[in-house]
């Protein structure tokens, strides 16, 4: 990057590297398109995701029902995109929850240091050791199966890596001169963490967050597939695929029930992972 003018910030340079990564950029626009259509399609579609027409159950894709109908005679297209809304919402909200928890926990642990730091990180180790998905299933099965519980629980079980990253960064930042200078000028602890340290650790945190989104969406789909996540009349990609898998039989193959929500999920997972990998490569300090 020798031709870069002197005045660019590291973030701008990283974004420039990201824009040069074709796979990541294509993925970025594609997943944006999927995200926007999950919002638009249910709005413009003449069908409602709940209204059942039982005599038109499991119809193949046609002019009226572009992606066919589900076992209850509901339009699969509007359901697939509406389900996508829920899947995206769970992914983003759970990631937000995990970010808040992880940053707060990691920053506290790293900033306080000493014995408390050791203790707090031991707790994270213990959480890593637990069979994560089982804990989620236990709590989900008991707290009830609704949207709020799904993203809160998933968020509460995916903050550990973020907290480790943040703690490591805070530990090294604590020793930097500019932090000492800020402290010398009388900046209080909260402002020190929020104004001076946080902007410096945002890069890796955001990168990890973009990789958390697909992983949480996958977990949501997994739970919903088992009937332990989102429940009717709401729907999500996992639940739709589960319905489709349940309708498979040797007499007639209702392929559209699996293929359409499945490809939306597959495309989204692929794109989000590519964007996350692209950001990771672009922001990776060692690669410069």
């Amino acid at each position: 990057m020798s031709d870069a003018p002197a005045g660019r910030s590291p973030t701008q340079l990283a974004l420039r590297r990201f824009r040069k990564n074709r796979r990541a950029m294509v993925s970025f626009w594609l997943v944006l398109a999927v995200g926007v259509s999950t919002a638009l399609v249910p709005m413009v579609s003449p069908h409602d995701y709940r209204s059942q027409t039982l005599e038109r159950s499991k119809e193949a894709p046609s002019g009226t029902y572009w992606l066919g109908t589900d076992p209850n005679g509901r339009d699969l297209m509007v359901r697939s995109f509406y389900g996508g809304q829920i899947s995206f919402a769970v992914g983003l909200l759970a990631t937000a929850v995990s970010l808040v928890l992880g940053v707060a926990y990691g920053a506290t642990s790293g900033f306080v240091g000493g014995k408390i730091d050791g203790l707090m990180m031991r707790f994270v180790d213990v959480l890593y050791g637990l069979p994560n998905m089982f804990m989620v299933i236990i709590i989900m099965s008991l707290l009830g199966r609704n949207f709020l519980v799904v993203f809160m629980v998933l968020g509460c079980f995916s903050w550990m890596t973020t907290s480790r990253i943040v703690r490591g960064q805070v530990l090294s930042l604590k020793e930097k001169e500019f932090v000492e200078a800020a402290r010398g000028l009388g900046v209080g602890t909260p402002a020190l963490i929020l104004r001076h340290m946080l902007p410096n650790i945002l890069g890796p945190v955001i990168v990890y967050a973009t990789l958390t989104v697909p992983s949480v969406m996958l977990q949501e789909a997994f739970l919903s597939f088992l009937g332990l996540g989102i429940s009717e009349p709401q729907t999500s990609w996992g639940l739709l695929i589960s319905d489709g898998a349940g309708a498979l039989n040797p007499l007639r193959v209702y392929w559209w029930l699996v293929v359409f929500p499945g490809s939306l999920l597959a495309i989204t997972l692929f794109c989000l992972n590519s964007v996350g990998d692209g950001l990771r490569d672009a922001f990776d300090v060692q690669q410069k």
Partner: protein, 311 residues
């Protein structure tokens, strides 16, 4: 070595205890009773039922009774299947899950490692692209999607493979029933292992000792498979621990798709029906499996790499 194993077994028992306690507490403090799902029943019946399941006793008594049960090998009574002991439900199902998981594990290793070696050997040539496409598919086709797709293509359209069930004997035709579920369970890990093997091989192939081996005239195959692979494989081995945990969770879904009468079915059913004793029993069995497997991986690690000291 022995000290290490004993220490880890102690730690494992402690983890199991924590998990059991956590489950118990969460279940206890969840509003509503698993018995109230039934139709309206006379209060005497309800009271008798509560007594039978120890639900009439105070928290600490229930807890102590449950823990004492686990120590003496008594897992309690199922609520969903009245009159059935948890052991009667879980123990016949567990070996099936274990066999399916074991097969998936072997399949993941047996497909993933050679694919990775090929990719490293033909870097940026056809086998390399092949293996990265497999890895890509692994990312975006989770098992609960791949399973139904495979059923559709190989079972319902092509009629090549049976789509569901569990082998009743050891004849070839019956054993074919294992192929789709095991592959579905293994697919993601084939992708991961091949990437890890490839990266490990490429890393090792630049080392001096490989150049020495080549210089003294060893043929490429010996260098690749004997000298390089042994060191390249360590990241794969450290993936084996988490992989076992993923396979166990994955098997819950795969058993549902392929109608395998394994532990996963009981696990999901008991979670939905709030059948406490079965649920806790299944969780404990799954968790012990993860713990045992991680121990085996660590031992394997020290065998493969003598520099790793077990402490």
């Amino acid at each position: 070595m022995l000290g290490f194993v004993l220490k880890r077994i102690g730690g494992g028992i402690l983890t199991l205890y924590v998990i059991a306690t956590l489950c118990f507490v969460i279940i206890y403090f969840t509003p509503g009773s698993p018995l109230t799902g039934e139709r309206n029943m006379p209060p005497e019946v309800l009271r008798n039922l509560q007594r039978a399941y120890n639900l009439d006793k105070p928290l600490h008594m229930q807890y102590l009774l449950r823990m004492k049960g686990y120590l003496t090998g008594d897992f309690g009574l199922s609520i969903k299947y009245p009159g059935k002991r948890v052991e009667e439900l879980i123990f016949p199902a567990f070996p099936k899950s274990l066999q399916l998981g074991g097969l998936a594990f072997i399949l993941a290793m047996a497909l993933g490692i050679p694919l990775g070696i090929l990719a490293a050997g033909y870097q940026n040539k056809v086998p390399d692209y092949l293996s990265s496409s497999v890895a890509l598919a692994g990312i975006c086709l989770p098992n609960f999607l791949l399973g139904p797709l495979l059923v559709m293509v190989f079972g319902l359209y092509l009629h090549w493979l049976p789509v569901a069930g569990w082998p009743e004997d050891f004849s070839g035709e019956e054993l074919l029933k294992l192929l789709l579920p095991a592959f579905t369970l293994a697919a993601v890990h084939v992708a991961y292992i091949s990437r890890l093997t490839r990266a490990g091989m490429l890393d090792v192939l630049h080392k001096d000792y490989i150049r020495t081996a080549r210089a003294k005239g060893l043929d490429a195959q010996t260098v690749f498979l004997k000298h390089a692979l042994k060191n390249a494989i360590t990241p794969v081995l450290s993936y084996a621990g988490p992989m076992a945990a993923y396979i166990i969770t994955g098997s819950v879904v795969v058993e549902k798709i392929f109608n395998v009468p394994g532990l996963g079915q009981h696990f999901v059913d008991s979670a939905l029906a709030r059948d406490q004793a079965v649920f806790m029993g299944a969780i404990l069995i799954y968790s012990s499996l993860v713990i045992v497997f991680n121990l085996l991986v660590d031992i394997g690690y020290s065998v493969l790499d003598p520099r790793v000291r077990l402490t």
